[in-house]
Symmetry: C2
Subunit: 129 residues, 2 copies
């Protein structure tokens, strides 16, 4: 969780940046673990240098998926997992010049021991908070 | 909130569909109203025929923005508002053959009395829940 990423491009110059990433090759055990998902969300927020104002998790049952969303002063980070397929869908939507969405994504990859299968970065409108 | 949309394309055949929409021309009053934002989130979920498993709202203060996320059995719907600019950023990420993301977007447009300034539909991987 370095504060100054070097392996990814700098954040998009638009004030709102939304990273959408689908991750693969996760273990069923990790992806069905709500405690881990919450820890990963909080670590991602810390890596992005954003402030968590709320956090909500839902576990669909033993060996089943987890949905978690961190509400941020700068928008949100969400994780949805499908343990049976080893995949997770990640959204990192952050606003402001100091938020580092790419650092959050690297933190989530590392925290869940997964790799990014597909990702895109989308600038968002009106992003001032 | 018709069950069978006619004015938008049918949902993407991929099982996960993520609509990203930036809305404009909202009133400052509506966009600073957390009660309205919660009602709009719940109506959007109903329009999409999805199930809310959690809901979290944060109001940044009087006359300030609201962040709300509905956690769904089918992923999530989020709304971030910027009353001072009359804009809102919407995400509707739904999985499964019955979820109607476009109906949710129309419901949010109507509920907030705004218009879509930019939107895109992104198929997401591994979408089975």
């Amino acid at each position: 969780m370095s504060a100054h990423p070097t392996s990814h491009p700098a954040p998009h110059p638009a004030r709102g940046l939304h990273l959408i990433a689908d991750l693969a090759e996760g273990t069923a055990e990790a992806l069905a673990d709500p405690v881990l998902v919450e820890r990963v969300l909080r670590a991602a927020a810390q890596a992005a240098k954003v402030r968590v104002v709320g956090l909500n998790l839902h576990h669909f049952g033993p060996q089943q998926g987890v949905t978690g969303v961190a509400l941020l002063a700068e928008s949100h980070i969400s994780i949805h997992t499908w343990p049976e397929e080893g995949v997770a869908a990640i959204d990192i939507f952050v606003c402001g010049p100091h938020a580092d969405a790419w650092a959050a994504l690297r933190s989530i990859e590392a925290g869940l021991s997964m790799r990014v299968a597909a990702a895109q970065a989308i600038p968002r409108l009106g992003a001032r908070r």
